[in-house]
């Protein structure tokens, strides 16, 4: 016979109250677990999308001139001669400390070519990388792979009335049209796209690239640090982070996370109040019993021990059941919220935190009732005798 036996017997006898307490805390824990799991899953999904969204760092040759276009509007009569980067220098990217954050490197060469007496922009790309980076491109036919193949932007298709399989003479060389790029609403509509080596040869820029797009894994990755590192290994270039995209997504996620925490804290406070009120009621109900304990020689700390141990057992049970309920709710809610794209991953840290947080909340909410019980004077408690 120890104090634990008294606690367990009491819980068994007052099942209704114990179940009520467990359910109260369980709902709180389950809500917190659900919201945090959803945030986590959607965050991971957003990160994945971000990685697939495209480049978030752009490297261009350094130019002292300021840009003379805005929103696709070129200042008439002004034509800057583009500088180029040595393609071999891109190997230096492997030397940066955050190399593991670099998911894709997409070099491009750009230049004007003559087609039927008209000047059009030709872009040479690395097919192995470019089409993974531009996942939003919709192509009728197929992407270019090698040799004299062309993927044609929507505006060019319309200008020359092109079809799949047509041959187009570019700078005097024949190219096969293997793909038609659906309208993007961007400058891509104005392009002819060819494999990098072929475009370099056609433009007379062998071994040179006009710009490099880099996709960095940006969930908590130090983009600004990476920009500085790239700037160091690629002297003579301008390295710019496309921060707007990154920051917008991160801001949206941050807002959702904040909301989730706000709801979670509110629910936990309600749970704590429920425990507090129930435990206060229980202490009033057990005044006589506590008086007996005190009369037969239980110290105040023994009474504290009894009340807090009861709270610990109930809270731990609520923590475990709440976590499991939260996981179940997450599995049900995820397909509804994110179209089934996000997936749940077991997070042992969250499981441990859920149980310990439940115990902590239960104990904190029970502290005052426990102290009140321990401070009961035996004579006061036994006055009803």
């Amino acid at each position: 016979m120890r104090l634990e036996h008294i606690v367990l017997h009491n819980l068994r006898r007052r099942k209704g109250r114990a179940i009520f307490l467990v359910i109260g805390l369980l709902i709180g824990v389950a809500t917190v677990v659900t919201l945090l799991s959803l945030t986590d899953a959607m965050g991971q999904r957003a990160q994945h999308e971000l990685e697939n969204f495209g480049a978030n760092i752009i490297i261009t040759p350094r130019s002292d001139a300021l840009a003379l276009n805005y929103g696709g509007i070129q200042l008439a009569g002004v034509n800057l001669v583009a500088k180029e980067l040595e393609q071999s220098s891109l190997a230096n990217i492997d030397d940066i400390p955050n190399r593991r954050n670099v998911a894709m490197i997409a070099p491009k060469v750009l230049g004007a070519v003559e087609v039927d007496g008209q000047r059009i922009m030709l872009m040479g790309v690395d097919p192995a990388v470019e089409f993974k980076l531009k996942r939003w491109w919709s192509i009728a036919g197929r992407p270019v792979e090698q040799g004299h193949e062309l993927l044609v932007g929507d505006a060019v298709v319309k200008r020359f009335n092109l079809n799949m399989g047509d041959t187009l003479k570019v700078n005097g060389q024949d190219f096969n049209v293997v793909g038609l790029l659906a309208k993007t609403g961007s400058q891509d509509d104005q392009l002819l796209i060819a494999p990098l080596d072929v475009a370099q040869a056609s433009l007379g820029k062998t071994g040179q690239v006009s710009m490099v797009e880099i996709a960095a894994l940006c969930h908590d990755c130090p983009v600004d640090d990476m920009v500085n590192q790239l700037q160091t290994v690629l002297p003579g270039t301008d390295v710019q982070a496309v921060q707007q995209v990154v920051k917008t997504r991160m801001h949206a996620l941050g807002q959702f996370r904040l909301f989730a925490w706000g709801v979670a804290v509110t629910v936990v406070i309600i749970g704590a109040l429920l425990v507090f009120v129930t435990m206060m009621g229980a202490i009033s109900e057990r005044t006589r019993e506590i008086g007996i304990f005190r009369a037969i020689g239980y110290r105040r700390r023994h009474i504290l021990h009894l009340v807090l141990m009861e709270a610990t057992i109930v809270s731990a049970l609520a923590g475990v059941l709440g976590y499991l309920t939260g996981v179940a709710a997450t599995l049900v809610a995820l397909p509804l919220l994110d179209g089934g794209k996000a997936s749940w991953h077991w997070n042992p840290t969250l499981a441990v935190i859920a149980v310990f947080a439940a115990i902590l909340v239960g104990l904190l909410a029970s502290l005052q009732p426990a102290f009140r019980a321990s401070r009961l004077e035996p004579s006061e408690a036994l006055r009803a005798l």
Partner: protein, 235 residues
Amino acid sequence: MSLIELKQVNKRYHNGADCVTALQELNLAVNEGTFLGVMGPSGSGKSTLLSVLGCLTSPSSGTVWIDEIDVYGLSQEKQADFRREYLGFIFQSHNLIPYLNALENVMLPLAVSKLSSAEKRERACNMLKRVGLPDRMLHLPQQLSGGEQERVAIARSLVNNPPLLLADEPTGSLDSATSLQVMNLLSELHREGQTIIMVTHNRENLKWFDRTIYLRDGMIEKDSDGDGRSFSKAV
């Protein structure tokens, strides 16, 4: 040396502007092995006296010595230890814990002791056998008769071998046959040397006491031995 000595004990209860005097300048000495009966009308201070002796209610003034210990000079926690080691309580309404069986109720004072589980169990079993309930150990209080519950309460009060047993109307809610059983048991304990102080209204219990004090308005009106001889009077 007396086991119990109360000197100039006063106890006043305040309720707003009202002040009720429950004990007035009370002096009392009780020797070891005495079976002391405390009688008196309602409101005479019997239960207050028992509470003061039981280290449950501190007196407004005066001193209470039990076994040469100034019990109200002890800290609250030491008073709890004192109650556990020196005192056994028997309440009128038994006050058993309803969700514990008879054996567990008897073991209750031992739950916070350092004895092994086996020792606690053995002591509680022996005590239940001692009060004649060897076959009711695993019964819950509500499965026991009033007399049996009282005997469990007596077993619980004795399981720590306390020098002093305090009983508040232990037969108050029992029929006469069961009361007789309980008084026989207490008398047997007394014969074995147990000091017992018992509050009662029932004059039939007088025959069991070897000393009786009569309280009125918080003072000892009459103090007599078992034969009814008055050997002190304090008013």
